[in-house]
Amino acid sequence: MSPRRTASGGLIDRSRSIRFSFDGDFYTGHPGDTLASALLAQGVTLFGRSFKYHRPRGVLTAGVDEPNALVTVLRGDAREPNIPATMLEIYDGLTVVSQNRFPSLAFDVGAVNQLGGKILGAGFYYKTFMGPVFGPLKGTRFWMFCEHFIRRAAGLGRAGKVADPSRYERMNAFCDVLVVGSGPAGLMAAKQAASSGARVVLADLEPRLGGSANWSGESIDGTAAAEWAAATVAELKARPNVRLLPRTTVWGYYDDNTLSALERVTDHKRTARKGEPRQRHWTIRAGRVVLATGAFERPMVFPGNDRPGVMLAASAARYATEFGVLPGGKIAVFANNDGAYRSALALREAGTSIVAIVDVRAEVSTAARELATKAKAEILAGQAVVATEGGKTLSGIKVQTFDAATGVVRGDARSIDVDFLAVSGGWSPIIHLASQAGARAVWDEKAQAFMLPPATERWTGAGACAGEFSTGEALAGGAAAGSWAAGGASATDPVPEAGGAVLDIAPAPVFEIPAGGKAFVDFQHDVTADDVRLAHREGFISVEHLKRYTTLGMATDQGKTSNIPGLAIMANALGKQIPEVGTTRFRPPFAPVSVGSLAAERYGDIRPERLTPMHDWHVDNGATMYSAGLWHRPMIYARPGETVDQAYVREARTTREKAGIVDVSTLGKIAVQGPDAGDFLDRVYTNMFSTLPVGKARYGLMLREDGFAMDDGTTWRLAEDDFLMTTTTANAGKVMQHLEYLLDVVWPELRVHLTSVTDQWAGAAIGGPRAREILAACVTGTAVDNETLPFMGIVHGEIAGAPVVICRLSFSGEMAFEVYSGAGHGTHVWQALMKAGKPFGLVPYGLEALGTMRIEKGHVTGAEIDGRTTARDLHLDWILSKKKPFVGSMMMDREGMTSSDRLQLVGIIALDNRPLNGGAHIVERLDRETPRDSIGHITAACYSPVLRKHIALALVRGGKSRHGDRAYVSDPLRDRFGAVEIVSHHFYDPEGKRLHG
């Protein structure tokens, strides 16, 4: 029998036991237990050590607001720190270790930090490690010396270093009504909305839906509240229009009622089923939202308030009622409100004894007194707890007379022998999501709390979240909210009656008992009331500065228990009211969200792979593939023993001597169709296309509106109203967007349709002196001789039974043809070409050889059309039509665009016969020590098999005027310096004789 487990009661399944380990020791619990409830049931009080002072810490809460009992969960080699024990469901084999202690939780050497309280106060880092340096022990140097020790001593657990093996997923959901929180208000709202036919999603971060109904001990609709909740949940579950999401934290409220939620799908299971994610991230787009998120009980700030055995009163009652765990045997309650009396009675009814209820108020209401009488508890009115006693567990408290009006403690302290203290400092509605949605919270003087702001999105609040603190109010509020959310249909069912004492929960405005000693405000970050005052004295009087200087509310719990007390102490120090001091706006996430769940299915798959129709052939035939944007393209087809350089040199040389074939399916292809297609192309290209005859292709250049070069490519006229535009691989999407913009916005009157047909076609470019013979050997249905297929001509035919379109154009400088077929026929046609080419010595070549041949030929690509070059810089002025305007024509003649000292395209030859590199500077005078006076840079470089030299294309000031000049390459980064000659960019066959065969 567990020492602190009640004999009966609670919602745990006592028929089954679960075995788990904590810090290497094995414990048992029951299904329905959290780690916190299971360990408390075993009499464990010490859960962890605090962040800064290494103070022993127990459990403060029973939920997501827990700042103390944070643990690290181990799964195989993976470790996940900072999991609240209150939110961790136990399962067989669960392995958990405590945090921030060495060598053990019970004996922790870091506890010596408690002696250095004053030194480690607010601003410790600023004061110790910043500012002017005096000697060796100040400033950054000192920090670098100390960092290792501080990082080891301070902190919130240790993250794992192995890759997370878990699976995460994303899910999109759409609903008419999203209800956040499944307490009495949330259940009523969901029920009401669902009964009117609305699509409802009900999410709750707890595994068991029902919220406070599970532990309030009240009755609803004449039955126990927990039973009412279970029945209502079952009813909702049976409805096809309702989706229940337990274990799901709605953590973000974004524009237009888009909310983010994290579902912990298998965190409570020993093993996940095949394909089942660990966590699932939900993006929920809701018509309307009901926020029924409840309220957090607040702690009181008094000396020793962080000792294990001090817990929030309602949480203590919840452990007793829902989990069948008695958190203590002899209990005192410390409160500033009536609500705590109900918790006292629940604890008493579960089997503990309530020694005293210490109430800061001199006057206590009749309703509260009645509860105290039932709990057989003595009320110590007008008194306060001023100290706690004990070590790793509580052994007693000290009580003194307290004046709530002045906040002054007087008289002698009296010791009371207790092993547990239940504390209640009032309630703060959980308004985080509403605050995220955009509005400023409203201070309520009576409730001493920030209440829901006015709705800025389509949401409403219900239950304690909306200030409806009694169950009866919550049920009515939930019904009304559900009705509103479903479009205003009036409530169909009567609102059930709630039994139980109706209490005025308004607390006395007491947040702190100033009695000397460490009184904690932010438990997780070890921020004390004195730290807040110190910050005030040092000038940090804005709440935003206070937060950052003291780090109050900035731990993983985001100050759920500490924000309001901290604010109250600051207001008191400033002599202002709380609303005057203001509050910080809540930001997402409400509770920590795993990065894995945000990455979800994209983990390890940052972007999709784009494969050409011949991809598998390339791989099967020895290609080394690399990525070019999303595309995967062959780099080289290396033969055994060949280096990259040897392979591409062989491929390029063979192409120039015999024939080569390259996959050009990645080129962007846009169908430009319609009666105005020619006119449209005249406007977007610098040269004329409307005059292009059907069956011919033309090279075209596009400018941006600002006159700079944008993209180039050939466009083929397949029919009168049907053009096939090709773009560079990299710019396909950009060009498509540019053209769509022009059609949609600038010239909507043009009858032109654009369609991406990149994937419709497989493209193979076959070039070299034997290329035409190879085509002649395999193409049927058309001749390919010079008359039928002249330069820039287009013919239709078949290869091995597949229809093809062949255009004679060249990127390599050789006589070349682009053979287009349906993508599904791509491999078939490619193989037929390879077969036909075999007697002629045809080789496949990759991007390296392609790049080499284009550099030799002086063709520009994205490396030169880099957004800073004009058509004239690239010697493409021959293509700038003077007969018509085009996009960019008005801007391309601006002074700066035509200046003679612009960087212009030239060729570079290394005179020292060593490789050149893209990005290297060209200089007139070589100065290795202080490189300077760049006159340009290399854009692309290669070894030219034709010239047997290392060559490059470059953009150099003065351009053509420097042809024949000696200059130098200056590349300090790669330590490459040497003499070069500036030449024409047409290295190879400048007259184009080979092109025309």
């Binding site: 899910m171 369609t755 026929h825």
Partner: protein, 195 residues
């Protein structure tokens, strides 16, 4: 006539995969239609184009973006204002439309090789697709026959509901293999069968 080679050929593994202990949640298949054709009308000429669809594909399309109809032999749906995707079992539909659609009505673009058609069917089809697309797949929001144009992770997709629990998805051919992998992975949880 030469058969089209599917980009999914090496990765399409017939049989049951994932968590199938509780049955098959979705069935995934490549439908390999003979024709996928895009029709686009000039403003005001939509009805004339819809008439051509009726004549050539036997489908009486509703006017307006997203509307569509699916039959066993052919299906069509709006993919954008004035634009429709028509899918037919037989090859050559594009040529037939090109001959039938007048210059003043609109344009015809053959995408038979450019798009890969993947069918997701079964009781968990909407669940699996919801993992991938930010689209409401509930029947009232996404009625039978209707379609959407959407995107996932750089992959453009057009989706038509062709049954109460069946969706046909058209993705760019070059992305098909990546999309297939994503789809199979998303389906593991509910158990899937590849046919």
């Amino acid at each position: 006539m030469v058969d089209q080679l599917s980009p999914l050929e090496p990765v399409l593994h017939s049989g049951r995969h994932g968590h199938v202990a509780n049955g098959v949640g979705v069935t995934l298949s490549e439908t390999r239609p003979g024709s996928i054709v895009q029709l686009a009308a000039w403003p005001g000429k939509e009805k004339a184009l819809i008439k051509s669809v009726k004549q050539l594909a036997g489908i009486a399309l509703p006017d307006g973006a997203g509307g569509g109809i699916a039959t066993e032999a052919a299906s069509a749906f709006g993919i954008a204002p004035g634009r429709f995707l028509v899918i037919g079992e037989e090859e050559g539909l594009a040529a037939a439309f090109a001959a039938a659609v007048a210059r003043d009505t609109g344009t015809v673009t053959d995408l038979s090789h450019g798009r890969t058609a993947i069918r997701i069917a079964g009781p968990k089809a909407d669940w699996v697709l919801s993992k991938i697309f930010a689209i409401d797949f509930a029947l009232p929001a996404f009625p039978l026959g209707s379609g959407v144009s959407t995107v996932h992770h750089d992959i453009f997709a057009q989706i038509q509901r062709t049954g109460a629990e069946r969706f046909d998805t058209y993705v760019f051919r070059s992305f098909a293999r990546s999309f297939w992998h994503a789809l199979c992975r998303a389906s593991e949880e509910v158990g899937y069968e590849v046919r």
